[in-house]
Protein backbone atom coordinates (compact mmCIF):
# COMPACT_ATOMS: atom_id res chain seq x y z
CA UNK A 1 0.00 0.00 0.00
CA UNK A 2 1.56 3.32 -1.02
CA UNK A 3 1.60 6.44 1.14
CA UNK A 4 -1.39 8.12 -0.52
CA UNK A 5 -3.50 5.02 -0.14
CA UNK A 6 -2.44 4.75 3.50
CA UNK A 7 -3.57 8.34 4.06
CA UNK A 8 -6.90 7.67 2.40
CA UNK A 9 -7.43 4.48 4.38
CA UNK A 10 -6.65 6.29 7.62
CA UNK A 11 -9.12 9.02 6.66
CA UNK A 12 -11.78 6.35 6.23
CA UNK A 13 -11.01 4.77 9.58
CA UNK A 14 -11.02 8.19 11.25
CA UNK A 15 -14.62 8.80 10.18
CA UNK A 16 -15.66 5.40 11.49
CA UNK A 17 -15.42 3.16 8.42
CA UNK A 18 -14.50 -0.13 10.11
CA UNK A 19 -13.79 -1.81 6.78
CA UNK A 20 -10.59 0.27 6.64
CA UNK A 21 -9.26 -1.33 9.82
CA UNK A 22 -7.82 -4.56 8.41
CA UNK A 23 -6.00 -3.06 5.38
CA UNK A 24 -4.47 -0.38 7.59
CA UNK A 25 -3.53 -2.85 10.29
CA UNK A 26 -1.89 -5.16 7.75
CA UNK A 27 0.01 -2.25 6.20
CA UNK A 28 1.27 -0.68 9.43
CA UNK A 29 2.09 -3.67 11.61
CA UNK A 30 5.06 -4.92 9.56
CA UNK A 31 6.43 -1.38 9.50
CA UNK A 32 6.17 -1.10 13.29
CA UNK A 33 7.92 -4.45 13.76
CA UNK A 34 10.64 -3.48 11.30
CA UNK A 35 11.39 -0.17 13.03
CA UNK A 36 11.40 -1.74 16.47
CA UNK A 37 13.63 -4.64 15.36
CA UNK A 38 16.13 -2.32 13.78
CA UNK A 39 16.34 -0.13 16.87
CA UNK A 40 16.05 -2.64 19.69
CA UNK A 41 17.76 -5.70 18.17
CA UNK A 42 15.79 -7.94 20.47
CA UNK A 43 12.89 -9.89 18.97
CA UNK A 44 10.68 -10.02 22.08
CA UNK A 45 11.18 -6.35 22.92
CA UNK A 46 10.63 -5.39 19.28
CA UNK A 47 7.32 -7.23 19.19
CA UNK A 48 6.29 -5.55 22.46
CA UNK A 49 7.19 -2.13 21.09
CA UNK A 50 5.34 -2.83 17.84
CA UNK A 51 2.26 -3.96 19.76
CA UNK A 52 2.26 -0.86 21.96
CA UNK A 53 2.77 1.38 18.92
CA UNK A 54 -0.13 -0.23 17.08
CA UNK A 55 -2.43 0.10 20.09
CA UNK A 56 -1.45 3.73 20.57
CA UNK A 57 -1.87 4.64 16.91
CA UNK A 58 -5.25 2.94 16.53
CA UNK A 59 -6.61 4.27 19.83
CA UNK A 60 -6.07 7.76 18.43
CA UNK A 61 -7.17 6.99 14.88
CA UNK A 62 -10.53 8.70 15.38
CA UNK A 63 -8.74 11.99 16.10
CA UNK A 64 -6.71 11.81 12.91
CA UNK A 65 -7.08 15.02 10.91
CA UNK A 66 -8.49 14.48 7.43
CA UNK A 67 -5.86 15.03 4.75
CA UNK A 68 -2.89 14.67 7.11
CA UNK A 69 -0.11 12.16 6.42
CA UNK A 70 -0.12 8.92 8.41
CA UNK A 71 3.47 7.79 8.17
CA UNK A 72 5.31 10.70 9.89
CA UNK A 73 2.88 10.45 12.80
CA UNK A 74 3.10 6.65 12.83
CA UNK A 75 6.91 6.67 12.81
CA UNK A 76 6.95 9.25 15.62
CA UNK A 77 4.68 7.06 17.74
CA UNK A 78 6.84 3.99 17.02
CA UNK A 79 10.01 5.91 17.86
CA UNK A 80 8.48 7.05 21.16
CA UNK A 81 7.55 3.50 22.08
CA UNK A 82 11.00 2.25 21.19
CA UNK A 83 12.58 5.03 23.27
CA UNK A 84 10.30 4.19 26.20
CA UNK A 85 11.39 0.55 26.03
CA UNK A 86 15.02 1.58 25.70
CA UNK A 87 14.65 3.79 28.78
CA UNK A 88 12.99 0.99 30.75
CA UNK A 89 15.68 -1.40 29.65
CA UNK A 90 18.31 1.15 30.59
CA UNK A 91 16.83 1.55 34.07
CA UNK A 92 16.43 -2.17 34.64
CA UNK A 93 19.78 -3.23 33.25
CA UNK A 94 22.09 -0.36 32.35
CA UNK A 95 24.70 -2.60 30.77
CA UNK A 96 22.27 -4.94 29.13
CA UNK A 97 22.81 -3.91 25.55
CA UNK A 98 21.64 -6.24 22.84
CA UNK A 99 24.19 -9.05 22.50
CA UNK A 100 24.96 -8.40 18.85
CA UNK A 101 25.30 -4.71 19.44
CA UNK A 102 27.42 -5.18 22.57
CA UNK A 103 29.81 -7.53 20.87
CA UNK A 104 29.83 -5.42 17.72
CA UNK A 105 28.71 -8.43 15.70
CA UNK A 106 25.60 -7.22 13.94
CA UNK A 107 24.24 -9.66 11.40
CA UNK A 108 25.24 -9.25 7.79
CA UNK A 109 21.65 -8.26 6.87
CA UNK A 110 21.54 -5.60 9.59
CA UNK A 111 24.91 -4.22 8.54
CA UNK A 112 23.75 -4.05 4.93
CA UNK A 113 20.47 -2.35 5.89
CA UNK A 114 22.28 0.09 8.13
CA UNK A 115 24.85 0.94 5.44
CA UNK A 116 22.11 1.46 2.84
CA UNK A 117 20.18 3.67 5.19
CA UNK A 118 23.24 5.75 5.98
CA UNK A 119 24.03 6.20 2.30
CA UNK A 120 20.45 7.19 1.56
CA UNK A 121 20.43 9.64 4.45
CA UNK A 122 23.75 11.20 3.49
CA UNK A 123 22.60 11.62 -0.10
CA UNK A 124 19.31 13.16 0.99
CA UNK A 125 21.05 15.48 3.46
CA UNK A 126 23.45 16.59 0.76
CA UNK A 127 20.51 17.45 -1.48
CA UNK A 128 18.86 19.60 1.20
CA UNK A 129 19.16 23.37 1.20
CA UNK A 130 21.64 24.84 3.68
CA UNK A 131 19.10 26.07 6.20
CA UNK A 132 17.33 22.70 6.36
CA UNK A 133 20.60 20.78 6.55
CA UNK A 134 21.75 23.00 9.44
CA UNK A 135 18.50 22.40 11.27
CA UNK A 136 18.75 18.62 10.90
CA UNK A 137 22.39 18.67 11.87
CA UNK A 138 21.62 20.72 15.00
CA UNK A 139 18.77 18.37 15.84
CA UNK A 140 21.12 15.38 15.64
CA UNK A 141 23.59 17.21 17.89
CA UNK A 142 26.24 17.33 15.18
CA UNK A 143 26.40 21.12 15.16
CA UNK A 144 25.35 23.94 17.44
CA UNK A 145 21.75 25.12 17.39
CA UNK A 146 21.38 28.38 15.41
CA UNK A 147 20.66 31.45 17.51
CA UNK A 148 16.99 31.71 16.77
CA UNK A 149 13.82 31.43 18.86
CA UNK A 150 12.76 27.92 19.89
CA UNK A 151 9.51 28.07 17.95
CA UNK A 152 11.29 29.24 14.79
CA UNK A 153 13.80 26.43 15.16
CA UNK A 154 11.04 23.88 15.58
CA UNK A 155 9.29 25.18 12.46
CA UNK A 156 12.55 25.04 10.54
CA UNK A 157 13.15 21.46 11.70
CA UNK A 158 9.63 20.52 10.76
CA UNK A 159 10.08 21.94 7.25
CA UNK A 160 13.47 20.28 6.93
CA UNK A 161 12.03 16.97 8.05
CA UNK A 162 9.27 17.19 5.43
CA UNK A 163 11.82 17.94 2.70
CA UNK A 164 14.04 15.10 3.89
CA UNK A 165 11.14 12.69 3.85
CA UNK A 166 10.27 13.64 0.28
CA UNK A 167 13.89 13.25 -0.83
CA UNK A 168 14.24 9.88 0.87
CA UNK A 169 10.98 8.70 -0.65
CA UNK A 170 11.83 10.03 -4.11
CA UNK A 171 15.35 8.69 -4.49
CA UNK A 172 15.56 5.76 -2.13
CA UNK A 173 12.00 4.56 -1.42
CA UNK A 174 12.77 4.69 2.32
Amino acid sequence: MDEDELDRTMDRLAIGDRSAFDPLYLALHPRAVSIARRRLRDEALALDAAQESMIRVFSRASEFARGAHVLPWFYAVCANEVRAIERRRGVLAPNDAAPEEASGEASAEDQLQSAELHRALEHALASLDLESAEAISALLGESTKPEIAGATFRKRVSRAYAKLRILLGRYHAV
Partner: protein, 195 residues
Protein backbone atom coordinates in the same frame (compact mmCIF):
# COMPACT_ATOMS: atom_id res chain seq x y z
CA UNK B 1 -3.19 -16.20 10.88
CA UNK B 2 -1.43 -17.45 14.08
CA UNK B 3 -3.28 -17.05 17.37
CA UNK B 4 -0.85 -14.37 18.66
CA UNK B 5 -1.49 -12.30 15.54
CA UNK B 6 -5.25 -12.71 15.99
CA UNK B 7 -4.93 -11.65 19.65
CA UNK B 8 -2.96 -8.58 18.67
CA UNK B 9 -5.45 -7.67 15.94
CA UNK B 10 -8.29 -8.00 18.48
CA UNK B 11 -6.40 -5.87 21.02
CA UNK B 12 -5.72 -3.17 18.44
CA UNK B 13 -9.36 -3.22 17.33
CA UNK B 14 -10.46 -2.85 20.98
CA UNK B 15 -8.06 0.08 21.34
CA UNK B 16 -9.59 1.68 18.25
CA UNK B 17 -13.11 1.25 19.62
CA UNK B 18 -12.08 2.64 23.02
CA UNK B 19 -10.53 5.64 21.32
CA UNK B 20 -13.67 6.12 19.27
CA UNK B 21 -15.81 5.99 22.43
CA UNK B 22 -13.60 8.59 24.12
CA UNK B 23 -13.72 10.94 21.14
CA UNK B 24 -17.49 10.47 20.76
CA UNK B 25 -18.07 11.24 24.44
CA UNK B 26 -15.98 14.41 24.18
CA UNK B 27 -17.84 15.57 21.08
CA UNK B 28 -21.19 14.79 22.70
CA UNK B 29 -20.28 16.89 25.74
CA UNK B 30 -19.15 19.77 23.51
CA UNK B 31 -22.45 19.58 21.60
CA UNK B 32 -24.45 19.59 24.84
CA UNK B 33 -22.57 22.61 26.15
CA UNK B 34 -23.03 24.46 22.84
CA UNK B 35 -26.75 23.72 22.64
CA UNK B 36 -27.18 24.44 26.37
CA UNK B 37 -25.51 27.85 26.11
CA UNK B 38 -27.51 28.82 23.00
CA UNK B 39 -30.73 27.53 24.58
CA UNK B 40 -30.21 29.43 27.82
CA UNK B 41 -29.40 32.62 25.90
CA UNK B 42 -32.23 32.38 23.39
CA UNK B 43 -34.99 30.38 25.09
CA UNK B 44 -34.21 30.88 28.77
CA UNK B 45 -32.34 29.22 31.63
CA UNK B 46 -35.08 26.62 32.00
CA UNK B 47 -34.23 25.23 28.57
CA UNK B 48 -30.57 24.49 29.34
CA UNK B 49 -31.11 21.11 31.08
CA UNK B 50 -33.07 19.95 28.02
CA UNK B 51 -29.84 20.13 26.08
CA UNK B 52 -28.97 16.78 27.66
CA UNK B 53 -31.28 15.21 25.08
CA UNK B 54 -28.53 15.93 22.57
CA UNK B 55 -25.97 13.85 24.52
CA UNK B 56 -27.06 10.29 23.60
CA UNK B 57 -27.88 11.32 20.04
CA UNK B 58 -24.47 12.83 19.35
CA UNK B 59 -22.65 10.10 21.26
CA UNK B 60 -24.34 7.31 19.30
CA UNK B 61 -23.93 9.08 15.96
CA UNK B 62 -20.25 9.89 16.53
CA UNK B 63 -19.56 6.40 17.86
CA UNK B 64 -21.10 4.85 14.76
CA UNK B 65 -19.41 7.39 12.50
CA UNK B 66 -19.58 7.84 8.73
CA UNK B 67 -22.90 9.15 7.36
CA UNK B 68 -24.71 9.04 10.66
CA UNK B 69 -22.17 11.33 12.35
CA UNK B 70 -21.98 13.65 9.35
CA UNK B 71 -25.75 13.90 9.20
CA UNK B 72 -26.09 14.45 12.95
CA UNK B 73 -23.57 17.31 12.94
CA UNK B 74 -25.47 19.09 10.18
CA UNK B 75 -28.78 18.25 11.88
CA UNK B 76 -27.65 19.90 15.10
CA UNK B 77 -26.79 23.10 13.26
CA UNK B 78 -30.22 23.03 11.64
CA UNK B 79 -31.81 22.28 15.00
CA UNK B 80 -30.20 25.41 16.45
CA UNK B 81 -32.37 27.40 14.03
CA UNK B 82 -35.47 26.08 15.79
CA UNK B 83 -34.19 27.64 19.00
CA UNK B 84 -34.38 31.02 17.31
CA UNK B 85 -38.07 30.61 16.44
CA UNK B 86 -39.98 33.34 18.26
CA UNK B 87 -42.77 32.24 20.56
CA UNK B 88 -45.14 34.57 18.74
CA UNK B 89 -44.72 32.40 15.64
CA UNK B 90 -45.36 29.18 17.50
CA UNK B 91 -48.19 30.53 19.62
CA UNK B 92 -49.95 33.21 17.56
CA UNK B 93 -53.33 32.61 19.15
CA UNK B 94 -52.09 33.06 22.67
CA UNK B 95 -51.42 36.68 23.42
CA UNK B 96 -49.84 37.30 26.84
CA UNK B 97 -53.10 38.72 28.29
CA UNK B 98 -54.99 35.68 26.99
CA UNK B 99 -52.46 33.40 28.62
CA UNK B 100 -52.94 35.13 31.96
CA UNK B 101 -56.68 34.76 31.56
CA UNK B 102 -56.25 31.11 30.60
CA UNK B 103 -54.12 30.53 33.66
CA UNK B 104 -56.78 32.13 35.90
CA UNK B 105 -59.77 30.39 34.34
CA UNK B 106 -58.05 27.10 33.66
CA UNK B 107 -59.16 27.15 30.03
CA UNK B 108 -55.89 26.31 28.27
CA UNK B 109 -57.44 25.47 24.90
CA UNK B 110 -55.70 28.34 23.13
CA UNK B 111 -52.36 27.13 24.41
CA UNK B 112 -52.72 23.54 23.30
CA UNK B 113 -53.47 24.28 19.69
CA UNK B 114 -50.80 22.33 17.84
CA UNK B 115 -51.59 23.35 14.28
CA UNK B 116 -49.44 26.50 14.17
CA UNK B 117 -46.48 24.65 15.58
CA UNK B 118 -46.99 21.79 13.14
CA UNK B 119 -47.08 24.22 10.22
CA UNK B 120 -43.97 26.01 11.44
CA UNK B 121 -42.27 22.64 11.96
CA UNK B 122 -43.17 21.48 8.47
CA UNK B 123 -41.95 24.69 6.89
CA UNK B 124 -38.73 24.48 8.84
CA UNK B 125 -38.33 20.81 7.91
CA UNK B 126 -38.72 21.50 4.20
CA UNK B 127 -36.25 24.40 4.30
CA UNK B 128 -33.82 22.43 6.48
CA UNK B 129 -33.78 19.50 4.09
CA UNK B 130 -31.64 21.66 1.79
CA UNK B 131 -28.92 21.56 4.43
CA UNK B 132 -28.66 17.76 4.11
CA UNK B 133 -25.06 16.83 3.20
CA UNK B 134 -24.56 15.49 -0.31
CA UNK B 135 -24.02 11.76 -0.17
CA UNK B 136 -24.28 8.71 -2.37
CA UNK B 137 -27.53 6.73 -2.46
CA UNK B 138 -25.93 3.99 -0.34
CA UNK B 139 -24.99 6.37 2.46
CA UNK B 140 -28.24 8.33 2.26
CA UNK B 141 -30.30 6.37 4.85
CA UNK B 142 -27.70 6.70 7.61
CA UNK B 143 -26.99 10.36 6.80
CA UNK B 144 -30.69 11.14 6.71
CA UNK B 145 -31.23 9.34 10.02
CA UNK B 146 -28.39 11.26 11.66
CA UNK B 147 -29.61 14.54 10.20
CA UNK B 148 -33.16 14.01 11.44
CA UNK B 149 -32.04 12.78 14.88
CA UNK B 150 -29.69 15.75 15.34
CA UNK B 151 -32.28 18.29 14.28
CA UNK B 152 -35.02 16.71 16.40
CA UNK B 153 -32.78 16.50 19.48
CA UNK B 154 -32.08 20.23 19.40
CA UNK B 155 -35.66 21.08 18.45
CA UNK B 156 -36.76 19.23 21.59
CA UNK B 157 -34.89 21.87 23.60
CA UNK B 158 -37.14 24.52 22.06
CA UNK B 159 -40.12 22.58 23.39
CA UNK B 160 -39.16 23.25 27.00
CA UNK B 161 -41.09 26.51 26.82
CA UNK B 162 -44.05 25.06 24.93
CA UNK B 163 -47.18 23.20 25.97
CA UNK B 164 -47.62 19.54 25.10
CA UNK B 165 -49.84 20.19 22.10
CA UNK B 166 -47.41 22.69 20.67
CA UNK B 167 -44.48 20.41 21.36
CA UNK B 168 -46.18 17.56 19.58
CA UNK B 169 -47.10 19.80 16.67
CA UNK B 170 -43.59 21.19 16.26
CA UNK B 171 -41.82 17.84 16.54
CA UNK B 172 -44.23 15.88 14.36
CA UNK B 173 -44.32 18.65 11.75
CA UNK B 174 -40.55 18.97 11.72
CA UNK B 175 -39.97 15.21 11.68
CA UNK B 176 -42.46 14.51 8.91
CA UNK B 177 -41.29 17.33 6.69
CA UNK B 178 -37.60 16.57 7.28
CA UNK B 179 -37.97 12.91 6.39
CA UNK B 180 -40.20 13.49 3.37
CA UNK B 181 -38.36 16.49 1.96
CA UNK B 182 -34.90 15.03 2.57
CA UNK B 183 -35.86 11.68 1.05
CA UNK B 184 -37.29 13.43 -1.96
CA UNK B 185 -34.12 15.47 -2.27
CA UNK B 186 -31.91 12.40 -2.07
CA UNK B 187 -34.03 10.50 -4.60
CA UNK B 188 -34.75 13.22 -7.15
CA UNK B 189 -33.09 16.50 -6.51
CA UNK B 190 -29.51 15.91 -5.48
CA UNK B 191 -26.60 14.93 -7.72
CA UNK B 192 -24.82 11.76 -6.62
CA UNK B 193 -21.74 12.28 -4.46
CA UNK B 194 -19.07 10.05 -3.05
CA UNK B 195 -19.91 8.45 0.30
Amino acid sequence: MPSEAIDLRAAVLRAYERGRTRVSATRAVVAVVLVGVVASLVVGHGAAPWALVVLPVVFFAERTGQGLARGARRGILVGLVTLLLPLSLLRPCCAPELMELAARTGDMSCCTDWTCCALVGMLLGVVSSFALPRVSRGAAPSTLSGFTAGAMAVAAVRCSSLFWGETLGLLVGLFGALVLASTARVCFGQPAAAA
